[in-house]
């Protein structure tokens, strides 16, 4: 059901406005509305100061959130975090946050450098390793030893394996040095060529400057490997690559430990900053006169007395709370859904489409019964139902800690639990355990009909249509009742007309099938005609066409429930095919094949019937009465008092 809401007006001395806001924030039962606009009054003074303070707090909040994002999987504290004293000393807070950020950023930069090094080193290593074999003797000499014998080496990587480029390089070196150099080359992976040039030490700078000016990529080794022999460089790089992972782990552990040491304080900062930002924002919703202030807001009607008592107890008689006695059907009111504990998993599924308008029908309870029932009617297998129950229970346990982040998924898992129960029930009716496996083992034990049998088709179709007629009829009935509450009499007549026309048509169908006596024909025709005329007359000048089309749509809606039979039949046949294939060939192969097809069918059974039954709720059922457009009730200070919803 939707909790009846009302708009309250809170008046008091202007000097007590801050105190009232603080108490309202603590209580968390009122969603503040824009009082200055509603009453053409001035807002609370100090808007500029509040804006500056909000900007400072928002910047601090961004810092806190960035730091907290570094430890997303931090363990939740066992005890409540000690709240920070308010008002917050923002400059001191930002200074502490800044120091922490600098420390964390230092570690991050170190981590980035290590990761870069891990990526870059192999690009040096591969060409160097390939070139070692070209100059085995020189590779053992370091730069100083090479200098002593008057030589220097330059390593070049060409981004091509085209030999002509090596020849072009040779020609360029000949032009500069004549024949006073040695050039060796070898192909390395990914279409590159490594070149090693041995030159007189006095020409080294000139050659390097020539190469820097050309389009050739010249490998310059990281500083830490400078001055080593080629052999030693390769070995040092290997050692370094082995060291890097442990250094990365150490740096990550250090960053985590620094953040974890401050996690509780950061949480407290987050809570305190958010609370103060809410208070600053709420101050803008207050209207003031010279001596008084006015606040307005929506709240559950049942909580008004509690609010009056609490404000009276905490602030004395300086504050007055008035219930403006708003209509429960006021479309401006926010929406708060409150249902039985059993039905709560279905609330997010209703909201997934759209929240119902304030004062309209909340279909959650009906969905609790009908959605799993239709799911079960489609799956209809004891074996699949039991397996789905176990899987859903397992998934529910796994998802329990993350239910707040993914309410729709958590709800679907719980719906699957209910649906699995109904699947077992319908499985007993249809006499199916993993298709016809039960029948093969124990004989025909169905309480009704095994679906794939020829005799079951007609009753199954009739059952689906009857379920559809009842469901759509219920929706139209709810729509009519809602129209009375909203005093929308044209809508009421439209719903009544549709109900009459459908009832008449179903009566005629019953007579055609032999289920009703001939005497029922005249009343059925009469009721259909009355209903049709009623619907047509409400659609204006084009009513003959649009009214008839509307009725055809309703009939289509009822026939749409045939999917319960269709999806169920497909599932039952696939299960039988699995059993049939399993009975061919050796027993081990049969078990393997049957298990594979049953697993496939089970996966389909969990997915397709859920989508189909959701669709039947959203399109066929909700289409008959649901009025959307509601906005969620977001009480001021609700992060302090999330439990308010469950206590109403």
């Amino acid at each position: 059901m939707l909790v009846p809401m009302t708009k309250v007006r809170i008046l008091g001395r202007r000097s007590s406005a801050d105190a009232v806001l603080g108490e309202l924030h603590q209580l968390g039962v009122v969603e503040l509305a824009d009082a200055p606009s509603a009453h053409s009054l001035e807002g609370l003074r100090g808007a500029e100061m509040r804006s500056t303070r909000s900007e400072e707090l928002a910047a601090a909040l961004a810092q806190v959130e960035k730091l907290l994002s570094g430890i997303p999987d931090r363990p939740r504290p066992a005890d409540a975090v000690e709240p920070l004293r308010r008002p917050l000393d923002v400059p001191a807070l930002r200074e502490t946050l800044g120091a922490l950020t600098v420390r964390v950023e230092d570690i991050r930069r170190r981590l980035d450098a290590l990761r870069d090094e891990r990526l870059v080193l192999p690009t040096y290593l591969e060409p160097l390793r390939s070139l070692l074999s070209l100059v085995p003797v020189l590779a053992r000499l370091d730069v100083e030893q090479l200098r002593q014998i008057g030589l220097a080496t330059v390593v070049i990587v060409l981004n091509t394996d085209d030999e002509r480029l090596v020849e072009a390089l040779r020609a360029e070196l000949v032009a500069e040095l004549g024949n006073r150099f040695e050039l060796g080359s070898t192909r390395v992976d990914q279409g590159a060529t490594g070149c090693l040039v041995v030159i007189p030490v006095e020409s080294a700078d000139m050659v390097r400057s020539v190469l820097d000016g050309s389009a050739i990529r010249n490998v310059s080794l990281p500083e830490r490997f400078g001055g080593l022999a080629l052999n030693a460089t390769v070995e040092a790089m290997h050692r370094r690559l082995d060291e890097i992972p442990s250094e990365i782990s150490d740096a990550e552990a250090e960053r985590r430990s620094v953040l974890l040491a401050h996690a509780d304080w950061l949480d407290a900062c987050h809570t305190a900053i958010v609370a103060e930002l809410e208070l600053l924002s709420a101050a803008g919703e207050l209207a003031t006169t010279q001596r008084a202030f006015v606040a307005e807001g929506w709240m559950p009607r049942a909580q008004v007395d509690h609010l009056k008592e609490e404000l009276d107890r905490r602030l004395g008689a300086t504050v007055v709370v008035e219930d403006t006695l708003t209509s429960p059907y006021d479309p401006q009111a926010p929406v708060l859904m409150h249902n039985l504990r059993l039905s709560r998993p279905f609330q997010p599924l209703v909201g997934f489409l759209e929240l119902p308008r304030a004062g309209s029908v909340d279909p959650t309870l009906l969905m609790t019964i009908l959605l799993p029932l239709m799911f079960g009617a489609m799956v209809g297998d004891v074996g699949y139902g039991a397996l789905l129950f176990v899987l859903a229970a397992f998934a529910g346990r796994k998802l329990r800690s993350r239910a707040a982040d993914t309410p729709e998924i958590a709800s679907l898992v719980r719906v699957l639990l209910f649906g699995a129960g109904w699947s077992v029930f319908f499985g007993v009716l249809y006499g199916e355990v993993f298709g016809d496996l039960g029948t093969r083992m124990f004989g025909d034990w169905a309480l009704w009909h095994e679906r794939p049998s020829a005799v079951a088709l007609q009753p199954l179709l009739l059952f689906a249509v009857a379920l559809g007629a009842a469901h759509v009829g219920l929706g139209l009935g709810l729509g009519a009742w809602q129209a009375i509450r909203f005093r929308e009499y044209r809508v009421l007549l439209d719903k009544v007309g549709a109900i009459l026309a459908l009832a008449g048509l179903l009566g005629l169908a019953g007579w055609t099938m032999g289920g009703l006596p001939a005497g029922a024909v005249a009343p059925a025709v009469g009721v259909t005609a009355v209903g049709l005329v009623l619907v047509m007359s409400l659609h204006g000048s084009l009513g003959i066409a649009t009214g008839a089309l509307d009725l055809l749509g309703r009939i289509g809606n009822i026939l749409s429930y045939l999917r319960i039979a269709a999806v169920g039949l497909a599932s039952a046949h696939l299960a039988n095919v699995a059993n049939e294939l399993g009975s061919v060939g050796p027993i081990w192969l049969g078990i393997f094949v049957a298990t594979f097809f049953h697993a496939l069918n089970l996966a389909l059974a969990a997915f397709s019937p859920m989508i189909q039954s959701l669709r039947l709720q959203y399109v066929e059922f909700f289409g008959a009465f649901f009025v959307g457009g509601g906005r969620p009730f977001t009480p001021f200070g609700q992060h302090h008092t999330r439990e308010i919803q469950s206590t109403i």
Partner: protein
């Protein structure tokens, strides 16, 4: 012979309706994915729109079932 023709008729009733449903869902599905990418809060309505053409194949199934049951 007659049974075979009945089976072919029933198969065509479901098959052609399924093709039409697939065509409609492909078009609507592509648009719905674009909608969800831009406005994730409308995912519920998008899924609803994708599911609507399925009625076609269900009606095809109804016709096929009638062909088998009544003929």
């Amino acid at each position: 012979m007659e049974t075979g023709l009945i089976a072919i008729g029933a198969g065509l009733a479901v098959g052609l309706a399924a093709l039409a449903t697939g065509y409609a869902q492909a078009r609507i599905g592509a648009a719905a994915m674009g909608l969800i990418a831009e406005k994730p809060e409308l995912a519920g309505r998008a899924i609803l729109l994708v599911a609507i053409p399925e009625t076609l194949v269900i009606l095809g199934f109804a016709v096929a079932a009638m062909i088998i049951v009544l003929l």
